[in-house]
Symmetry: D2
Subunit: 270 residues, 4 copies
Amino acid sequence: MSYNLLKGKRGIIFGALDPNSIAWITAERVHEEGGTFVLSNAPIAMRMGQIDELAKKTGSQVIAADATSEEDLENLVKQSMEILGGKLDFVLHSIGMSINVRKGRAYTDQKYDWTQKGTDVSAMSFHKVMQTLYKHDAMNEWGSIVALTYMAAQRVFPDYNDMADNKAYLESIARSFGYFFGRDKNVRVNTISQSPTPTTAGKGVKGFDGFISYAEKMSPLGNATAADCADYTVSLFSDLTRKVTMQNLFHDGGFSNTGVSQEVIEYFSK
Amino acid sequence: MSYNLLKGKRGIIFGALDPNSIAWITAERVHEEGGTFVLSNAPIAMRMGQIDELAKKTGSQVIAADATSEEDLENLVKQSMEILGGKLDFVLHSIGMSINVRKGRAYTDQKYDWTQKGTDVSAMSFHKVMQTLYKHDAMNEWGSIVALTYMAAQRVFPDYNDMADNKAYLESIARSFGYFFGRDKNVRVNTISQSPTPTTAGKGVKGFDGFISYAEKMSPLGNATAADCADYTVSLFSDLTRKVTMQNLFHDGGFSNTGVSQEVIEYFSK
Amino acid sequence: MSYNLLKGKRGIIFGALDPNSIAWITAERVHEEGGTFVLSNAPIAMRMGQIDELAKKTGSQVIAADATSEEDLENLVKQSMEILGGKLDFVLHSIGMSINVRKGRAYTDQKYDWTQKGTDVSAMSFHKVMQTLYKHDAMNEWGSIVALTYMAAQRVFPDYNDMADNKAYLESIARSFGYFFGRDKNVRVNTISQSPTPTTAGKGVKGFDGFISYAEKMSPLGNATAADCADYTVSLFSDLTRKVTMQNLFHDGGFSNTGVSQEVIEYFSK
Amino acid sequence: MSYNLLKGKRGIIFGALDPNSIAWITAERVHEEGGTFVLSNAPIAMRMGQIDELAKKTGSQVIAADATSEEDLENLVKQSMEILGGKLDFVLHSIGMSINVRKGRAYTDQKYDWTQKGTDVSAMSFHKVMQTLYKHDAMNEWGSIVALTYMAAQRVFPDYNDMADNKAYLESIARSFGYFFGRDKNVRVNTISQSPTPTTAGKGVKGFDGFISYAEKMSPLGNATAADCADYTVSLFSDLTRKVTMQNLFHDGGFSNTGVSQEVIEYFSK
């Protein structure tokens, strides 16, 4: 179903790795709604991924960029405007990675080089993306920038490890840059705090199956899927939400405001 | 501009008093997007207002209902389903009133009969509306219920008086009922925390002009207008936001997450 | 152990029913710390309770007051100042009651007379207490007013029913009145959001055993007990916390910021 | 005035630069309450500061440590236990620094080497301190760890620049590590979100005078001073607050929950 909500709008979508990625499904959905975009991913992720397939499907070009490199981002932003034929209206940041998680290092036993690398990739990259857009005046007025995040930024989920702190940092960057991007360019910046989602990255987290099952039972509407997230992102890119900014928006079937559900409490009531 | 986002959807819109009302402008916008609805207001508000004009414009019927009366609400819900030809997909609650505010009673000198009346009209009415919908199984799956609120529920705005507590109560009702409406009927319930808006009701609050000017200066994107709010409500009624529930959503140009703006701080820096 | 933290301080403690009550244990603790106070409870609760025993133990007088009656509260405040020999330094509000809970009415099937009565007793009473204190200028500068609340005000705990909304209302009243009491009298107002506690009232809630066991497993430090709460309340009545105001303070062993614990997630991981 | 609240308790206090420092005044206050401690600061800060004077006054030893160096922290923790004669009961982290702020770089024009350095010093250092304490099992059961933060972590204060994001990161680390420190060692971890305070560091921030005057006018009880903060920290180190953990505690005279004050709104009402 298409509403033409994004007709004439141009953007960049970061982080589409494979058809399970939220960014991948969002790209398809944005395309349905009439938006045009450049796809970007880290060079290494591109080699592993199937992004060319998505590019073909959506009539997009792909530009490799290390989102921690100011130079790469500058190149990406400039080229994107050229390819798309003007300034941008939307940007999706769906980038995150923790070496401590990958290598199974406990939160209380961090290797700080890895922690710092994770922060740079997962959070600081969002600042770098926005600073590049801001400096090159690459966003149209009333454009919309969205980053994906997770509720571990507010509450502890033990296995989420240092990604929790990275997400808190990311959400703060959204607020801080949102102020300046709003005041100076009338551009909005928000984060979507998404249900746990069985992406290729998500499924790699230790204990993910138990966790997604718990979240499902705790959420009155069930977990939000990647397709739901794509829909919601479209609404945030559209002109219907022009005065929503500097917000962290929970998209989770009600998980965030459920203290405990009937279904979960029953496990503890025998 | 119309996207047909609400084509085939039916609902009830409470609280359209005159063309400055958020509910009025939302009704027009919902109509543009293809939604059909019944308009409802308190009998007394209907006598003062111009709601028939709106009804004509949007091809709607008007049913008077005192939102504190279970009987009136039952009648309204039943009739609405008959008129519209089926269960409902959306409901907007835009109802609020404080006698203490109207009569200029200080927050520290409440007349409690008035306080209780304000709570009943402004907050408990939302529970009554939802309980009536729930009991009559009047909402379609994936329907959306929205109430309008204000940030005084979180932080003190001295002139907002006992309406602040009413709004906190209202937001809690949204969460609480949202849990049950989600779990049992797959219906979502949210509140929009809107910028101060120069409606007929809003303008009646003491010191409103100073306040709206302050809010404008504090909001990186400026205050959200009633028309902006109508757009945002449409997005929340649409199928793009089906997993957003039990949330209080700030729609305020960034006010809520701005500690102080450059423009405001300059007043205090000699 | 006593530190003399409340030496010379006078107050009123509401809601001591029996030795399981948080208010009861707090009264004992305040007495140890050198505070003097009047005990107050509803006439009916006093007949059922053993408050005279507590009064004897702490050298206190008991004054019956219906906390929904402005007249009773006025009498209580005046008499307390006479008995104690001066203005007050601290007040504890530990009052709550829901007839819907008691009678087993579902949240989606409220009897609104009962709901309104619960709101009056559980939340509005706090406004009435403060308005009486404010009007009679009964608080010393840098005095401290505390009410007990529960996290259901922020997140849904299905069995907590309409008490959730009452607590949200109560917390809002604390903020709102806290502004005026702070500005005009340098008095602070806060709420303590306490772990589920096996008081006589608490144990009456359906499913309480399962719930307290879940909360224990979710809290890194375990549930806060009534004795812990008494200690914390003493810190808030003392001069060590004079600039803390309008806050809702979680006292729960970390429950509120734990998304899920290792212990709980194991139930969902086969 | 002393209550002997910290008699027999041992700890480490980071960040006492000069008599305006919150850490300095807290050290004096902790000493009054019977606590013993080691003072620590960065080597460079120690050369500039007057920490020896404080050491003499409080009978403390000083150990230089770069809080970003795991080796320095390990040495500090081990030596502190030797000097103080046992495990620790309290730790104060009052460390923060942004080169972007110092050099006047706008938030939208960050030099990322500086940003990364600021994050390491201001936030990651807190993780390193806790990881060192945790690994060496250096905290007694029911010990208390506190870090100082600022509300820019939640809302934007434009001149606070990248320190806002550092503080958000710091607060997340407090929650995350608080979970593990609580679960494994019964140690609590909290942050105090303090009013703007005219320390030597604070006064260096651009526009600080205007800002502190605005905050004073917005806070019903006025800004919390460094002495107030010392008192509050003592309460958090004491046994009265043993079940408070993973919290960010606003200590600000009510600023955080004041939407606007009467005094401030008057500037906008002519």
